[in-house]
């Protein structure tokens, strides 16, 4: 082994260790103290949570938001603490939050641990893409920001409106239901479509449509033949701005799409992403809009 | 004594060495000659343990296969045929690498002296890659010399194993390098050199092994081995030893060059910019 050793090794290691250890001592000198929470300084993480807070009239209490919170427009003016699933603990703490409300799935877990350790009130709002899910989401946010009464009113109104939509859909009868294909993107002429268990599947069901693809969960690329087999009556997409005429033209020109009923009739519906898939206070409106787009009036 | 017994080496199915016996004595310069592909370099690589082989190689009676790398390094140094270098080391850094392998590790004057020995004083801080092929070859020789600086150490001969040490050198440097090998042997060390140039071999070697087709066809003192018959058989063309060309034809033999030190004092500081004509 002696051949491998040289005399320089240990000394520089010692130096590095000393430097790093001194950095460590810097930190370790810190001691615990206590800060009182200020619940009028809300950090809202997740597009639908932010929408609900604004809908409950507590928008002025929100001081920061995440990247997915793009509605209402006032929210966009607030500091952005980063993407919902890649938050940095110091970024969130830097805005001196008094209360953190996060959509389910906010992360990474290490950041959430630090935030919880900071003894800040931290609420995680559960998510599910159906009528009951929206109601419990609104109630949970209401509890968190101490606006339970307003939340109950909003939740009841939404529930009623969704219930009416559902009743209308049932009244329409199975034979009239339309098959809807939700397309997330058409990158490189490959269609990324929604299967089951997604927000898109949820909203299609609420609007009284049938999801055209039920063979897989989540968003996956579809082959041309699968698109033909899915035989959608309507294609649903997110509105990303830009020239829809050209984008729709491109989509409808794809060989597989031309063979579907939607392709033949040119039935493409575009709606704003957060509006359509957010499952927040605007969802009843979104359901009605989508229903109107599918079935008219 | 460096001794190899019934060495066989196969590359795939091809037998490159077929049961070779070889011996070299300290104090001697032993040359291995033979045509291309006769197995000269493979034999040297077997002697250094670089290629897998059957049979045994012993150095003063001990099997080199059982010796540790650093034990071997202290007793023999190897000059490869072509030496690549991966990173931009300077000349002195390359020579020092040899120093750290041998037992003269503590003696910091050795690398400088080794460079001076190969006529490369003044090149110490040049980048190795910026040198010409011949200069690189001499730097490698200096590195090898630094590793076994004293030809005899603790009463035992040390060894230089050289693979075509003069291949890329001009005639002046061929004489210089062969002179160094000769001196090493004269001082009690052992030298084994794979050689292409039969004249230089004849001029500097004590003993010769002639190889052909993976075998040694003759081995022994110069005069016994360097014969018309043996060489013609090995190289496959009619060679005649000791016969001058017809009168009037031009020829230059290393034998008739005047000794190098008569022209160039050993302790000259060579200016790298004007190093084109060291002679």
């Amino acid at each position: 082994m002696s051949g491998l050793f040289n005399m320089h090794g240990p000394r520089w290691l010692l130096i590095i260790t000393v430097v790093l250890a001194s950095a460590l001592v810097f930190g370790s000198a810190a001691e615990a103290g206590a800060d009182t929470g200020k619940s009028d300084r809300i950090v809202s993480l997740g597009g639908s949570v932010t929408e609900i807070i604004y809908a409950l009239g507590a928008g002025s209490r929100v001081i920061a938001r995440d990247t997915t919170s793009s509605f209402p427009p006032e929210a966009e003016k607030l500091p952005d603490v980063g993407y919902l699933r890649a938050l940095s603990p110091e970024g969130v703490l830097s805005v001196s939050p008094g209360l953190i409300i996060a959509e389910e799935g906010a992360g990474p877990p290490e950041t959430i641990d630090v935030l919880r350790n900071a003894k800040l009130p931290y609420f995680e709002i559960p998510e599910s893409y159906d009528r009951a899910g929206i109601v419990s989401k609104i109630l949970a946010v209401g509890d968190a920001i101490n606006e339970a009464e307003k939340a109950r009113v909003l939740a009841n109104a939404l529930d009623a409106s969704l219930g009416a939509a559902q009743a209308r859909a049932e009244a329409r009868g199975i034979e009239h239901r339309k098959r809807v294909l939700f397309i997330l993107s058409t990158q490189n002429d490959r269609i990324l479509a929604s299967g089951t268990g997604t927000a898109a599947a949820g909203i299609i069901a609420l609007a009284g449509g049938d999801n055209a693809v039920t063979s897989f969960e989540g968003y996956k690329p579809l082959t041309d033949e699968a698109i033909i087999a899915a035989a959608p009556d309507v294609i649903l997409m997110m509105d990303r701005g830009g020239d829809h005429g050209a984008a729709n033209g491109e989509l409808l020109a794809m060989p597989a799409v031309t063979l579907t009923p939607a392709g033949k009739s040119g039935a493409v519906v575009r709606m704003d992403g957060l509006y359509l898939l957010g499952f927040g206070p605007r969802t009843a409106d979104a359901v009605n809009d989508l229903s109107a787009a599918l079935y008219g009036g | 004594m460096l001794r190899a017994e019934s060495i066989k080496v196969a590359f795939g199915r091809k037998l490159v060495l077929r049961s070779v016996d070889f011996a070299a004595a300290p104090g001697h310069l032993t040359a291995i000659v033979g045509p291309n592909g006769s197995g000269k370099t493979t034999l040297l690589r077997a002697l250094t343990g670089e290629v897998g082989h059957s049979g045994t190689v012993t150095l003063d009676g001990s099997d080199i296969a059982r010796m540790k790398g650093w034990e071997l390094a202290a007793r023999r140094a190897v000059l490869p045929q072509s030496a690549v270098l991966a990173f931009p080391f300077t000349v002195i850094e390359v020579v020092r690498m040899g120093l750290s392998g041998g037992t003269s590790g503590g003696d910091k004057s050795v690398p400088g002296a080794a460079l001076r020995r190969v006529g490369m004083t003044g090149y110490t801080d040049r980048l190795y890659q910026e040198l010409s092929g011949g200069e690189q070859q001499r730097v490698q020789l200096a590195r090898v010399l630094a590793q076994v600086w004293h030809p005899v150490w603790q009463g035992r001969a040390r060894w230089l194993l050289l693979d075509e040490p003069v291949a890329s050198l001009d005639i002046a440097h061929q004489l210089l390098v062969m002179g160094i090998a000769r001196d090493f042997a004269n001082s009690g060390g052992g030298v084994v050199a794979v050689m292409h140039d039969l004249n230089l071999t004849a001029m500097f070697a004590d003993a010769v092994a002639v190889m052909a087709d993976g075998q040694i066809i003759a081995q022994g003192p110069m005069a016994q081995v360097m014969t018309d018959d043996t060489l013609s058989r090995a190289y496959g063309c009619g060679l005649r030893v000791g016969l001058p060309p017809a009168a009037g034809s031009t020829f230059v033999l290393p034998h008739t060059a005047r000794p190098i030190h008569e022209m160039k004092p050993e302790f000259t500081a060579v200016d790298p910019a004007h190093s084109g004509t060291p002679c």
Binding site: L13, V114 | I92
Partner: protein, 357 residues
């Protein structure tokens, strides 16, 4: 015709050593400065000096100060230092071993293996029994990345080792094959992933020190430190390897042991670094290359200097990553690539003649 005294030759020859030693002192200073910088700056306005002043006067720190300085910035800074050091040293060792200035730990399959491990954990993690997930908690991705990196290196090493001799060339080729296989499996898992998992994968691939915690430090640092220490003893051997494997052996270097130690330490330290910080590129190539230009290729100097510069560089990149778009932050891999790639190109252009050295 003046005689050149030996001592003069020695002095000339030691020049690069002296530069390297001075560089080391400079780098130690720079590292100390970046450490302080990293503790002092961040999205939160918390002042390091304010906190130190409080401590000096026997006052207690506020919760905010304690959390920001102690729970967030301190582990982040240390993690940056160790990950940066480990990536730079691993790069230098790989380059020495493969005798190629463009080699990196990816060549021994650490990157591909660790990536596959991480993707498995992110995508398939949800399918594991709940008890298992609870056992690992936040560690699942890190543990899987480490095991993936380490496992693939061991596999490569076995493939490339015949009767006690490891062929570096075989390792390189097998590494390419293994990389392709890992890429295909990763692709399969990406296909199975939902869109959230895809975002997670993207962010993992870009690396971040945001997940640095004391607990992770305590696990990763011993591995990294041990590997860097082991690498510290490879300097002379790697120098000799520059002359080729055979010559290194003739000089007395235990070449096989050198290869084993080099591969294992690189796998362990890179595996640990990638596991806690994700994929961070360019440090392993740019740092050793810069140092080679500044102080020469002698690995006895290069390895410690690379550790110091790598540590400083990553801490610096992390400070930029978390300050530039605060309160949000950039993935650190973006910062290192944005800083590293132009520097690298500039070096190549400026030193065109020496690129193939």
């Amino acid at each position: 015709m003046v005689a050149f005294p030996d001592s003069a030759i020695e002095t000339i020859g030691r020049d690069r050593d002296i530069v390297a030693r001075r560089t080391r002192l400079l780098l130690i200073t720079v590292l100390a400065a970046t450490c302080i910088f990293s503790l002092a700056f961040g999205a939160a306005g918390t002042s390091l000096w304010g906190a130190l002043y409080k401590l000096a006067n026997g006052q207690t720190l506020s919760d905010m100060e304690r959390i920001v300085l102690w729970d967030i910035r301190a582990p982040r800074t240390l993690m940056g230092a160790f990950v940066g050091a480990s990536l730079a040293v691993a790069g230098a060792v790989m380059q020495g071993l493969f005798r190629n200035p463009l080699a990196d730990p990816g060549l021994v399959g650490v990157g591909a293996g660790a990536g596959l491990g991480a993707i498995c954990a992110i995508v398939l993690g949800a399918l594991l029994p709940a008890a298992f997930i609870n056992l690992f908690g936040n560690w699942l991705v890190s543990a899987a990345a480490f095991l993936g990196g380490w496992g693939s290196t061991l596999l490569l090493y076995r493939v490339a080792t015949r009767s006690g001799r490891t062929s570096v060339a075989t390792m390189l080729l097998a590494g390419i094959a293994l990389g392709a296989l890992a890429g295909a499996l990763s692709g399969l898992l990406v296909y199975m992933a939902d869109d959230r998992q895809l975002r997670d994968l993207t962010f993992w691939g870009l690396g971040s020190l945001a997940g640095a915690t004391w607990a992770k430090l305590f696990v990763a640092v011993p591995l990294i430190l041990l590997s860097i220490c082991a690498a510290g003893f490879l300097g002379r051997g790697l120098n000799a390897m520059a002359l080729g494997e055979a010559t290194a052996h003739h000089i007395g270097i235990p070449v096989q042991r050198l290869k084993t130690v080099a591969v294992m330490t690189v796998a362990a330290s890179t595996g640990a670094a990638v596991a806690v910080a994700g994929g961070i590129g360019f440090v392993g190539i740019v740092v050793p290359h810069l140092l080679r230009l500044a102080t020469g290729p002698d690995h006895r100097m290069l390895l410690p200097n690379a550790a110091l510069l790598g540590a400083s560089l990553l801490i610096g990149a992390d400070v930029i990553a978390r300050v530039v778009i605060a309160p949000a932050e950039l993935p650190i891999g973006i910062v290192t690539a944005v800083l590293g790639a132009p520097v690298f190109l500039w070096i190549l252009l400026r030193r065109r003649g020496l690129v193939d050295l």
